[in-house]
Amino acid sequence: MSRRPRGTGESLKDFPLFGAISAVVFAFLYMPLVFVVGYSFNANRVVTVWKGFTLDWYLEVLQNDDIQRALMNSLRVAVVATALSVVLALGLAIGLLRLARSGNSFAWALIGAPLIIPEIVFAIGTLSLFVQMRMPLGVNAITLAHTAFCIPFALLPIRARLKSVDLSVYEAAADLGANEWRIFRRVTLPLLAPGVVAGALLAFIISLDDFIVSYFLAGPGGTTLPVYIFGMIRNAITPGVNALSTLLLLVSVLIVSISYYTSRRKR
C-alpha cells in the first residue's frame, strides 16, 4: 500500500480487492430488489420460471378493487400522518431551540428514542393502549400511530437545518420590528423550508412503507398496501405481488430522491 494518509479516497481505492468487495456488497444489498422488479414482468404464473416479458400483472394489479382500496387507505394515512407529524416536529424544533442548553439534549434524546425502539414493541404498546381506550381499530388508529412514530423522522432534517442557521438572524428580525408571528413567517419558515420538505417526504415514505404497526391496528377495513401485500403472499408469491411491490418501490425511490435533493440544495 502507498504511504498516503489513511482516510483519503485514493488510499481506500488502493485497497486490494476493493472492486470485488464492493461488487459483493452491492449485490447483497440489491439482488432481492432485482428479483422483485425482474419477475414482475414475467409472463409465467409460476414466479420463479421465466417465460417472457409482459405488463399484464401491472394491469391486473391496477384494476383490482381491493388493491385500490388498500392504496387509498395507505395514501390517506400517509398524507394525514405526514401533515400532522411535520407540524408537530416544526413546533418541537422551534420550542427546543429556546430551551436551556442543559435540558435541550435530554429532550432531543427523548424525542429521538422512537427511532431505536423496536417497532414490534411500539406496535403492541399502541394496540394495547387503543384497546384500553376502546378506540376503534382502522385507518384512524393507524394514522394516529403513524403520526407518533413519524415525528422523529420529520424532526431530523428540520433540526439539521435549524442548527445551520445563525441564531442572531431571529434577533435581527425582532430588532427590525417583527413580532413572533412575523419572525416565524418571514424568517424561520423560509429558512427551514428545505428541512421541512425533506422531513415531510421522509415521514411520508416511512408511513407509506410501514407494515408492523399498520398490521396490528388495521382491523376490518383498515388494510393498507403493505398489509394487503402480506396477505397476498400467504398462499404463494405471485407475479402480481412483484408488480405491486415494484410500484411501491418506485414511489419510495422517487420520494427519497426528492427528499435528498431538497435537503442538499444550498440556499
Binding site: 438572524v169 434577533e171 428580525a173 430588532d175 427590525l176 420590528g177 412575523r182 423560509p190 429558512l191 440556499r267
Partner: protein, 357 residues
C-alpha cells in the same frame, strides 16, 4: 447634559447571569449613563465587562434585572424588542440569507407597514449611503465581509432609529478595512445626525470615533468623558492602564507631596487629581510614557534596560529601584538613550495622575 437633549438614559441598571457551574456573574452593576442626542457614544471595555449586555438591554434582546432605560424621556423597559425605536448592527451582521440585499434592507420598513412605493426609494437611499449602489439584487453570501457589514448598517439605518446600536461592528474586518470603516461610520453619523452607541474592546477604535467614551470595568462604568479627557485624566487605575499606555506605580500621600514607588517624592504641583486625599493615603499614580522628561547623567536613578525603535518613537524600558517603567522619546533626538545608560527623570506639572484602585 440636560434631560431634554438625552437620546437615551440608563438609570441604575443591573443584570446578573447564572453560570452553568452555578455561580453568578454580575454583567451590569448599577450602571447609569446619559447618551446625548446626535452623539457618537462608545462603550469601551475588555470582553466580559458588560458592555454588550447593556447594548442588548437597550435593544430589548435582554431584560435588565433592575433599573430604568428611557428613550427620549420615555421608559422603554416594558416595550418589546420589535416596538423599540432602536436598531442594532450585530457583530455577526445577522443578515437574512434567504433574502437579497435590497430585501434585507426593506424588511424593517415592511414591518413598519410602509407601502412598496415608500420602501423602494428608502432602500435605494440606504444602499447609496453605504456605497453599495447596484448591489441590491445580490444575496448576502455573494458579498465580501466588508460589504455584508455595510448591508447590516444600511438595514439598520434605513429604519431611522432614535438610537443606532452597533455591537463590535468592525471586529470581523481586517485591520486596513477596519480603519476605513471607522471614518465611514463617523461620516454616516455626521450625515444622518442619528445617535450612535457603539460597543468595542479596541481602545484605539473608541478614541478615533467617539464623542463620548464610557469605559467599562467588570460590570461598572469606570469613567465617562471625551476621549482626550479620559486619556489625559484617567480616574482609575484600570482606565489609565486600559486606555493608551501608562506607567502605574504604588504611591503614598505625604505632607508636602507624594512618594511614588521607587522614584521617590514628587511635588504636589506634578500630581493631579489628588484633591482631598489626606496625608497617609496609599494608592496608585499613573503617568504616560511620552510625558516624562529625561536627562542622561551618570548618577541618574533610572537604568535603561532596553531601547526599541518604533518608527517615530523610541520605547525605552528603564528600571527605577524595584519598578520598571516605559518612557517614550522621539527618534529624532540627537543622542537618544542607549541600553545601560543612567537617566535622571522629571515630570511636567500635572503629568502624574492620582488614580483610584
Amino acid at each position: 447634559m440636560s434631560h431634554e437633549t438625552s437620546a437615551l438614559t440608563i438609570n441604575r441598571v443591573s443584570k446578573q447571569f447564572s453560570t452553568p457551574e452555578g455561580g453568578v456573574v454580575r454583567a451590569l452593576d448599577n450602571v447609569s449613563l446619559e447618551v446625548a442626542e446626535g452623539s457618537f457614544t462608545v462603550l469601551l471595555g475588555p470582553s466580559g465587562c458588560g458592555k454588550t449586555t447593556l447594548l442588548r438591554c437597550i435593544a430589548g434582546l435582554e431584560a435588565a434585572d433592575s433599573g430604568e432605560i428611557s428613550l427620549r424621556g420615555q421608559r422603554i423597559d416594558d416595550v418589546p424588542v420589535w416596538k423599540r425605536r432602536v436598531n442594532t448592527v450585530f457583530q455577526s451582521y445577522a443578515l437574512f440569507p434567504h433574502l437579497t440585499v435590497a430585501q434585507n434592507i426593506a424588511f424593517g420598513l415592511q414591518m413598519d407597514g410602509l407601502s412598496k412605493t415608500q420602501i423602494a426609494p428608502r432602500v435605494e437611499e440606504a444602499l447609496a449611503m453605504v456605497r453599495l449602489d447596484g448591489l441590491g439584487g445580490r444575496r448576502p453570501s455573494q458579498l465580501s465581509g466588508g460589504q455584508q457589514q455595510r448591508v447590516a448598517l444600511a438595514r439598520a439605518l434605513a429604519k431611522e432609529p432614535e438610537v443606532l446600536l452597533l455591537d463590535e461592528p468592525l471586529s470581523a474586518l481586517d485591520l486596513k478595512l477596519r480603519r476605513g470603516m471607522q471614518s465611514e461610520l463617523k461620516r454616516l453619523q455626521r450625515e444622518t445626525s442619528l445617535t450612535f452607541v457603539l460597543v468595542t474592546h479596541d481602545q484605539e477604535e473608541a478614541m478615533a470615533m467617539a464623542d463620548t467614551v464610557a469605559v467599562f470595568d467588570a460590570g461598572r462604568i469606570a469613567q465617562v468623558g471625551e476621549p482626550r479627557d479620559v486619556y489625559l485624566r484617567p480616574r482609575t487605575r484600570f482606565v489609565a492602564d486600559f486606555i493608551g499606555e501608562a506607567n502605574v506605580l504604588p504611591a503614598e500621600v505625604m505632607d508636602a507631596g507624594v512618594r511614588v514607588g521607587s522614584i521617590g517624592d514628587v511635588g504636589l504641583d506634578v500630581i493631579s487629581g489628588i484633591d482631598g486625599q489626606p496625608p497617609g493615603t496609599r494608592g496608585h499614580v499613573a503617568f504616560r510614557p511620552e510625558n516624562i522628561n529625561w536627562e542622561r547623567t551618570p548618577n541618574g536613578d533610572a537604568h535603561v534596560l532596553d531601547v526599541t525603535f518604533v518608527g517615530g518613537d523610541l520605547h525605552i524600558v528603564a528600571e527605577v529601584g524595584e519598578d520598571t517603567i516605559t518612557i517614550r522619546a522621539s527618534s529624532h533626538h540627537e543622542e537618544p538613550p542607549r541600553t545601560g545608560d543612567h537617566l535622571d527623570l522629571s515630570f511636567p506639572a500635572g503629568s502624574v495622575r492620582w488614580v483610584e484602585d
